[in-house]
Symmetry: C2
DNA sequence: ATTAATGCAAATTCTTTGCACTAAA
DNA sequence: TTTAGTGCAAAGAATTTGCATTAAT
């Protein structure tokens, strides 16, 4: 799967929603694709787009998160990052060492939630899960440098 | 189990750490115990303690979270609450309807994390999980009112 | 032409800091 | 006494709002 959807696909989704395809919206998408990292902060986008107003950047980020084009990532220190969403429900594996973020969809948190409902009567509507640790690449790197 | 530990127990823990048992610290603990809700915001504490400085309240909350006397709860809307901690690793069930927060420790997220490591090579150091939904009490309430 | 979307600057919210002062040990 | 802890007011950060202006359809 590509790192992010084609511009055309996102434009289509904007149009489907009856939203305008504006220059600032296109440039936020471009700026998000431009970074070396697979993640970006509102600040990153802001500094890559000095010509776009701060408010527009925040409004656009919010819109694109609602549209599930981007997803929010909560870092261990409480800071917020954004990332292209693979769409649909998923979680993040955030590497302490290199900061890389991977998606994680395979594990079934749903089972856990169902079990929960059975035991406590609490019905889960949704949940937020972020996992912090060390990615495979950083493990190999550490092994090599020893 | 009681809603929160005895003052004496917390005082003991402060002393064990070589920290002073000050009037503001005691009043933050009292204010946290005073609320009708099982949760409280920094603002709640602030308004219950007009005589204590804002900075002291934040410093004290941070200290008590580090000491695992309180834990932080991340609400669905991104706001932060505090709550007496049952100590040790646990998660929260947050009711959309009544806002009540329950702890949840029984389910084994660890298994999920181990499975994850096996499949992706990512080693989890920690994770953050909040569950949003509807508590048993609100379910009954809804059933009755029909 | 219409009106959604933007840019700016000011306002908000939540939290932290610097520093002289106070009180716990 | 000593120095950890406090209060105040000011500084920050991260975001949001109001409103006149601009640009996409």
């Amino acid at each position: 799967m590509a790192k992010h959807p084609s511009l055309a696909a996102v434009v289509q989704r904007l149009e489907d929603r009856g939203l305008r395809v504006t220059a600032p919206r296109l440039s936020v998408l471009a700026a998000a694709a431009a970074g070396a990292e697979d993640q970006f902060s509102a600040e990153d986008i802001e500094s890559r787009l000095p010509q776009v107003g701060r408010a527009t950047i925040f409004r656009t980020l919010k819109l694109l998160v609602e549209m599930d084009v981007f997803c929010r990532v909560l870092l261990d220190d409480g800071n917020l990052r954004y990332r292209w969403s693979r769409r649909g429900h998923h979680h993040h594996l955030i590497c302490d060492s290199c900061g890389a973020i991977e998606d994680f969809t395979g594990c079934d948190v749903t089972t856990l939630m169902q079990d929960l409902a059975r035991r406590t009567g609490f019905t889960a509507r949704g949940h937020w899960l972020e996992v912090y640790g060390r990615c495979a690449a950083c493990h190999s790197r550490a092994a090599v440098s020893q």
